[in-house]
Amino acid sequence: MADEQVKLTLVEKLGRVDRRIIFLLMGVAVLIPLLIHYTTTIPASLIVQDLFDKVESLPPGSKVLISFDYGPATEPENQPMATSITRHCFEKGLRIYMISLWATGPRQATELIDGIITPEFPGKVYGIDWIDLGFKAGGQGLINTLLSDFTAMYTTDVNGRAIAEFPMMAGIKSLRAFDLIYCVGSGQPGNKEWIQFAGDPGRIPVGGGTTAVMAPQLYPYYPKQTVGLLGGLQGAAEYEAALMVKYPKYKTMSRVASEKMGPQVSAHLVIAAFIILGNVTYLVERRRQKKRQ
């Protein structure tokens, strides 16, 4: 009996942990990964892996349209998505066409060019491997027009040079010329518009990434209308992980989303552990009470 009593109080104690201990562990769980720059590798979920596999399946020379439909406000979430797809496309020898439905988009594209393309892929030639076509107003109306006639809207690149100068623009008559449309979005116009006005009517594969806030509204389009989706920081980190598995050289390079996910993962695990602890002790206590009755 005495033995039982001691055990009981232990279980009871575990069922009523002082909240300050929880607070302390949460603080540590967030602080430590930040201090040691811990990066996690989160296995890609199906919705992300499908998108990765789609890019992986494209033959060299395929055309990928990346639409920068976001601004500085959501940069922490969106920029890593643009970085990963760019790295992946160039590894596979695909061609990248950048456009933007948001006036704030070209700035983000420039950031990508200066931060990733120029330093990491010096061998890739502007106009042959990639091109920046800039921003055009119109949202869904623009997409609609591009679907039937791309060159009606884009006669020059972002710097005002005629597209005829660029070999990679030859044969781009409509959106149907692209093998994948990849929208990095954060609202309207964005992923939904690309799916509804380009993907669905033109039967063009559409994928992309969006912020965590927008993601739940886009899940219903998967897998019928969208190839895959990166939801928030987590989706971005999963793509980084998938890229790293396939191309190990990225293990040593900056993986922004994965770094930011470090504190997230450890903190989530702490919470999950406490939920499990609470339930296990609850069940044990209940069983003991029943026995006693």
Binding site: G141, S148, T151, A162, A164
Partner: protein
């Protein structure tokens, strides 16, 4: 510098010519056929200042020579005065709204199709005059829905006013209100009431303040201390009127003081910091959170739980209900908050309005069931008539802006 400019200009021209030479060898000099059936008329269902334009596509837009890239619309105040361009919609577009006009003025319009080779012949329309309308036809369906709801609610209020006995089911969270105040009295500790962090322009705050009136009657009877920190000045004013009236009705005006309801700050987290301070220092035995809440909901509820208070929450903020459900003893979910003031007051007219709400819910459910059945049957059978009936019901609830 000048030479560079000219060179660049020349370069662009040559490049353009090259594009034209390659892409459009045949159509290079061709102008498209003009659009047809161009009409200009006052935009319907609006506040004036706008004229709608409609036209049929040029035969060369999407068909024929397929060389149209856009349309050019221009406007003038006289039929043969100077026309200035107002818009350049893309090809494939057949409508445009011209805004920012003066009501009562005659406007004339012209449209032409644009191609690389130049402009088509111009087509004229007008004059058209912008004006305000007396009814927004786009919202006719909304008016019908509003009338149904208003009628249902008003009808039951009328029944209530006539003294008809209207039964309302027990609402668990509300039974707890009296219990919580009672416990605070036994323990000799205060009751804390938070009417949310929004101003009186939010109906949730109004509902919260109405419930505050009922709670204040109890604290007056039990002689329990009531503390109401608020984050909006107008809420402070209305809160004081409400509590004063409640103490008067309970026969204890002597116990009322303006200091019960006091203002802290409009800032969300400044307010929360202060309320947290009040909680840990005054240790209320009962905490009520009834009104509109944002992220602070969980900070308040967790601090309240740490001091062992009985907590009753209620809000219509869908994002915050989960946190109250997790951390409080009782939570009024969404609509229950609005039913609460009527329920507690036991006023017949107020109870009638809840019955009216239920009638509205019944109507909504009937339309949803019939609608879902029809569109499902249409999807299975492909029957045209069923499909049209389903769409008709669905469109009753379509928003046209």
């Amino acid at each position: 510098m000048v030479t560079i400019g000219i060179m660049r200009y020349l370069g662009t021209v040559i490049a353009l010519l090259a594009v034209l030479a390659i892409v459009l060898p045949v159509w290079a000099d061709e102008v498209p056929l003009a659009p047809s059936d161009f009409r200009a008329f006052d935009s319907p269902s609006d506040h004036g200042g706008s004229i709608d334009l409609k036209w049929q596509r040029s035969p060369d837009d999407g068909a024929g020579g397929n060389i149209v890239t856009a349309y050019e619309i221009s406007r003038s105040a006289t039929p043969d005065g100077e026309f200035s361009q107002v818009a350049r919609p893309l090809k494939g577009v057949t409508a445009y709204s011209d805004n920012g006009l003066t009501d009562g003025t005659k406007y004339y319009y012209r449209i032409a199709a644009v191609s690389a080779g130049g402009l088509s012949d111009q087509v004229s329309a007008g004059p058209a005059v912008a004006s305000q309308q007396w009814f927004n036809k786009k919202r006719a369906n909304l008016l019908v829905v509003a009338c149904i709801l208003v009628f249902a609610i008003a009808y039951y209020i009328y029944l209530g006013a006539k003294g008809r006995d209207l039964h309302i089911r027990r609402i668990a969270g509300l039974e707890a209100v009296g219990e919580a105040v009672g416990r605070a009295t036994e323990m000799g500790r205060p009751v804390l009431f938070i009417p949310g962090i929004q101003d009186m322009d939010n109906v949730q705050t109004v509902a919260g303040i109405t419930i505050l009136g009922e709670i204040a009657k109890m604290t007056a009877q039990y002689e329990t201390r009531l503390e109401v920190p608020v984050s909006r000045s107008i809420v402070m004013s209305t809160g004081r009127e409400t509590v004063r009236q409640a103490y008067l009705e309970a026969g204890r005006p002597d116990l009322y003081s303006d200091d019960m309801v006091h203002y802290i700050t409009d800032e969300q987290f400044g307010y929360v910091a202060a309320v947290d301070g009040i909680m840990v220092r005054e240790r209320p035995a009962a905490c009520f959170y009834l009104g509109a809440f944002f992220a602070e909901s969980l900070i308040l509820a967790e601090t309240g739980s740490s001091i062992g208070a009985i907590q009753v929450a209620g809000t219509a903020m869908p994002t915050q209900i989960p946190f109250f459900v997790a951390a409080c003893d009782y939570t009024l979910i969404g609509e229950e908050l609005f039913a609460a003031s009527a329920y507690l007051s036991k006023d017949k007219k107020m109870l009638g309005s809840i019955k009216g709400q239920d009638a509205g819910k019944a109507v909504a459910m009937v339309f949803i069931i019939v609608g879902v059945v029809l569109v499902t049957l249409a999807a299975i059978s492909g029957n045209h008539a069923v499909s049209r009936a389903g769409e008709w019901i669905k469109n009753l609830f379509a928003l046209r802006m």
